[in-house]
Symmetry: C2
Subunit: 193 residues, 2 copies
């Protein structure tokens, strides 16, 4: 467990879940092809409605491509995410392949695939930080996506964590695993409470 | 790994991801409070946009409550899911708590929380089978939910796997881990392919 991680589980749980968080201080060390394949392999086995597998990951690895992807990020994310050796967007297909009808589980199933990727990253000693802070229209442009067919759910920075001293002062204050609502608020028996 | 699981990973990946699948043959053996807490604890640490944590799990454990929950399931799921010792619905809050605006990541973030729950189930020797096959309106009624506030994303059966010989003939033919698209179709560099 990361020594900066002061999270306190309320119940017995796989360390992996508590150990996964979203740092901003990334090393520029590149990911190997094998590491990248492992991430997508984990995502691939996520379940989905009708086994549609609507999630698709579009990634950038070269400095030039990453800079281009960065253009779609909000400024607060640009400052740190440009260091990460891999940037990607999580897309999801909005209609079912078998009948062309809207897939109401498109985002939900993409969330499952993303979570698998994030946990696999942790297993490899990497971190994956998902961002909602991106310009959706710019992402569509950069990726050449038709908004009728796909939705962009998240931008993700992936890499090894670096010493947080490299962060600017404002970003550095956020460099700590965040907490959660109490366990009692996550689930309830028979009715919503 | 389950001996019925003939899935072939294309890349090095945590066994957990390949080992997770959605059986229909459940033992009636009850879950302990500790097991149930572990599942929700794993879900609790999933990341979410603005750390909103929109996912909420409403579960049934007693025979009476499970029967009531079963009423919302499609017939094809009713026949096997009623055996599982825990049935639950995955809900997601549709608006942000901090400003009341629509949360476009509500389903995506609930998918992440669900995936953590499913993987934690596997770590406990349990299986969690998510179903899209339920009547949404009935689920709202049973759970007493306001559709303006919450969406119901999935029904989930959780428990230990039982010998598949208990399944009816039609259901038994589905009792095998399903496959996935090739790894090459899950991700692409810089543009959608």
């Amino acid at each position: 467990m990361d020594r900066h991680n002061l999270r306190q589980p309320e119940a017995e749980v796989g360390a992996l879940f508590v150990d996964r968080w979203s740092p901003r201080s990334f090393s520029t060390e590149e990911l190997t092809d094998e590491q990248l394949s492992s991430l997508f392999e984990a995502a691939r086995w996520a379940p989905s409605c009708y086994n549609e597998q609507p999630a698709h990951f579009v990634y950038a690895r070269t400095a030039e491509d990453r800079e281009r992807f960065c253009e779609a990020l909000m400024d607060g994310n640009k400052v740190w995410a440009r260091n990460a050796p891999v940037l990607l967007f999580v897309l999801t297909r909005k209609v079912f392949g078998h009948n062309g009808k809207p897939n109401r589980w498109a985002a939900f199933d993409a969330g499952s695939a993303w979570m698998s990727l994030a946990l696999q990253a942790r297993m490899l000693g990497l971190h994956a930080h998902a961002m909602a802070g991106f310009h959706r229209d710019k992402a569509f442009d950069i990726l050449g996506i038709n908004p009728e067919e796909y939705e962009v759910m998240a931008a993700v920075a992936i890499g090894r964590r670096a010493d947080p001293s490299q962060l600017d002062e404002q970003t550095a204050t956020k460099e700590v695993p965040n907490d959660r609502r109490p366990l009692a608020e996550v689930a309830s028996e028979t009715r919503l409470e």
